[in-house]
């Protein structure tokens, strides 16, 4: 019992030291830099178009769990949902030559990609689903990116804890062949908990990058002036890693 007390005291002192270090300038800079080193290593060790594993249709999970917003009640989302998303528009805007405004029908008529992939939540769980939709690269090419565009921001209809959800990726992930604007999950229109009517798939990163309830795709030169400036809802709100490949 005494020994356990000793360990607890040592542990507490160690944690206090760690937190002191984390609050220091060097410490916080190091803690923030590590995700970038992993990203560089991942990018160095594989082709930028290397594919995340795809599974046979039989591997699909019987139910696809939803997290974060699972039933948005803000703005006109509830009425859009009641209307079967018939009037939903997806804008492609920002640093593009030809801004687009697409209906769900427009999106369904584009060349489609279907992929059975595993979705990994930052919390630790995984689910497998079959996603269908056009590649983001098709939309970006149609809108013609301007050379100064460096990041693609995903705007969402859901408002979580008073903030509009958004996410962003760099052009490598934006142009990755498995990055699709999904409108079908397992052959059916997306359920509301999984992002109806449109959700972006960023298959080499964790679940919070896969923005749901997609309303706009925006090309930008910098993330500094978007939201809180860290590139995504959870990044701004809770300090989640912008590169979510770890």
């Amino acid at each position: 019992m005494k020994r356990r007390g000793f360990l607890a005291v040592m542990g507490a002192a160690f944690v206090a030291g760690c937190n002191k270090l984390a609050e220091s300038e060097t410490g916080s800079r190091l803690l923030g830099a590590a995700e970038g080193w992993h990203k560089s290593a991942h990018r160095f060790l594989q082709d930028r178009k290397a594919l995340a594993p795809e599974f046979p249709r039989s591997a699909v999970s019987p139910y696809f769990r939803g997290n974060g917003s699972v039933d948005p009640q803000n703005g006109d989302y509830p009425s859009q949902a009641a209307n079967g998303f018939a009037d939903w528009r997806l804008e492609v805007r920002g640093l593009v030559e030809t801004p687009l405004s697409l209906s769900l029908d427009n999106i369904r008529r584009l060349p489609q990609r279907t992929q059975v992939t595993r979705h990994d939540c930052v919390e630790g769980w995984s689910a497998i689903g079959e996603w269908t939709g056009p590649q983001l690269s098709v939309l970006l090419d149609a809108a013609r990116l301007k050379p100064e565009a460096k990041f693609i921001v995903f705007r969402c209809a859901d408002n979580l804890n008073g903030q509009d959800y958004y996410e962003s990726v760099d052009l490598i992930d934006a142009y990755h062949p498995q990055t699709i604007v999904a409108h079908l999950l397992n052959g059916e229109p997306l359920p509301i908990r999984n992002g109806a009517p449109l959700r972006i798939r960023i298959e080499r990163q964790l679940g919070y990058k896969h923005a749901k309830y997609l309303t706009a795709i925006e090309a930008v030169a910098s993330l500094d002036d978007i939201g809180g400036g860290k590139g995504g809802y959870w990044e701004d709100r809770a300090g989640y890693q912008w590169y979510a490949g770890i």
Partner: protein, 223 residues
């Protein structure tokens, strides 16, 4: 000749700090989703093989629930941990520490000898065996260096979706991402078990002398 080479001493202490930070930040990450699964996927209790207890804040880094900050600590410390292990393996192959002191020979794997070794340990007599380490020590250090620590690195890589396009074969070999995550947890606790036994045996076998030797190097003729 020193009892412990400089490379061993450096790695030992750097690795200790890394493992403690990784373990304690890992407990916070475990608290984010306390269910473990086998196979590729799993997200609810009905698929889980084990429900991990919630670890109290005082055991965790940063000492309160903050998944993002715990992940920052975890993925930062993973670098010195993995590169340090690589360094230690290179060093102990080059300076023959592994072959001379840790690798066992077939003749040591005989039950009477192993039983004798266990009995000696139970009598708190640790100073026996022909080499620097007795059989149980070789076995423990060999398992930690050759299995537990490398498996932490491999299973950790296997649960990172960003590296899976090139390491997909390793994820398959480990039985899928959720199996890799379960193994990550199991080996972390195997290491924790080693840590407790190691600490107890150091305390029982002259802690001042042992710790001093791991800092200054000590002399090879003192056990």
């Amino acid at each position: 000749m020193k009892r412990h080479a400089l490379s061993t001493r450096l790695w030992h202490w750097v690795n200790l700090v890394c493992v403690v930070v990784l373990f304690m930040s890992g407990l916070t990450i475990s608290n984010a989703h306390r269910l473990l699964y086998w196979g590729d996927w799993g997200f609810s209790r009905s698929q889980a093989w084990f429900e991990v207890p919630r670890f109290p804040d005082w055991m965790t880094i940063p000492g309160y629930y903050d998944l993002a900050l715990a992940r920052d600590w975890h993925i930062l410390t993973a670098w010195p941990f993995a590169l340090g292990l690589l360094f230690m393996w290179a060093a102990m192959l080059l300076n023959r520490h592994f072959r001379r002191d840790i690798a066992t020979s077939i003749s040591e794997w005989r039950w009477p000898a192993i039983r004798e070794d266990i009995l000696r340990h139970l009598k708190l007599d640790f100073d026996h065996g022909d080499g620097k380490y007795n059989f149980l020590q070789k076995l423990a250090y060999g398992l930690v260096l050759g299995v537990f620590l490398p498996m932490m690195v491999f299973t950790g890589l296997a649960i990172s979706p960003g590296i899976e396009p090139v390491l997909g074969w390793m994820v398959d070999l480990l039985g899928g991402r959720q199996s890799a995550r379960s193994l990550h947890f199991i080996f972390a606790f195997a290491l924790f078990g080693f840590f407790l036994v190691h600490l107890a045996l150091v305390l029982l076998s002259g802690p001042v002398k042992q710790v001093r030797a791991m800092i200054t190097g000590g002399r090879s003729d003192e056990a």
